[in-house]
Symmetry: C2
Subunit: 166 residues, 2 copies
């Protein structure tokens, strides 16, 4: 008989589907995020040269929409409430096979996740970060850069770059 048994004879529960978590933050790729609502696309034209799209869970979208209706719409979504989760998908871009002037998604590169939990992540503006490559978290060094960059560039937008596309 393989492995220990619990008192009732059942095999111990294994977290068989435990998703791999990011270093520092323990953030995982949220289940079902591909069904979440669309926030905005982007083209990152720098070194990475990627097409991107941000999706948000219901809490994120509600906060964005409240912000969009607010007179102070630049600030209205800030801060995002606890429970907000944003996922950024990124792909290398390739020319459309059928339409020469269009760039469309090629291979996926990273999936990046931001989770708002103001107590758990009090030291990083209330946000936990995860960067995943092919479902696996990137290394510690990469995760050490997330907050520093968001804090340097978008601290006054609750550390979030992406606006809801009009």
């Amino acid at each position: 008989m393989a492995g220990p048994l619990k008192a009732d004879g059942a095999e111990p529960q294994k977290p068989a589907e435990a998703a791999p978590a990011s270093p520092i933050y323990g953030v995982t790729v949220p289940k079902g995020y591909r069904q979440w609502q669309f926030v905005a696309p982007a083209l990152e034209a720098g070194e990475l040269n990627e097409l991107r799209a941000v999706l948000g869970n219901a809490t994120a979208i509600a906060a964005y929409e409240k912000g969009a209706k607010s007179e102070n719409s630049e600030k209205g979504t800030r801060p995002f409430p606890d429970g907000t989760v944003l996922v950024k998908l990124a792909w290398k871009h390739v020319p459309s096979p059928e339409f020469a002037t269009a760039l469309v998604p090629g291979s996926p590169t990273t999936v990046q996740v931001m989770v708002k939990d103001s107590r758990r992540y009090a030291a990083t503006g209330g946000w936990g970060f995860g960067r995943f490559i092919d479902g696996k978290p990137a290394d510690l060094a990469q995760h050490q850069t997330c907050f520093a960059c968001h804090a340097a560039l978008v601290k006054d937008r609750d550390y979030v770059f992406t606006r809801l596309a009009p």
Copy 2:
């Protein structure tokens, strides 16, 4: 008393929220499409120079996903079933105010809709088209170009350019 009354004294029902329909096809902007699932982003680098994103209703997404799992994934989603609706949002792009190398959505330009109804639109590959600017359909001349271009370039993909982003 303004206007005619019905026999029961109530004012006649007006189609107060009747959405304006496209010429040729009678396609309207579907209600709630902004909540639909995300299909893919694109950058149209030509004359239009737009960021774009395609969203699909549940029928569209189911067909895309079936296609993505199919061995013959280039063909697997084709043809899309009746009831498929695809919406392409487009924006002028602007540099991100906070991240110089990123292009993000600026002003919205068009919302373009494809509706599959193989009987109603039998003459145009089963698809009806609508192109809307600020909620209003573009003119007849613009709608005369939709099918010709889709037929010339992506007839063997059931007239749909956009693939589900991996």
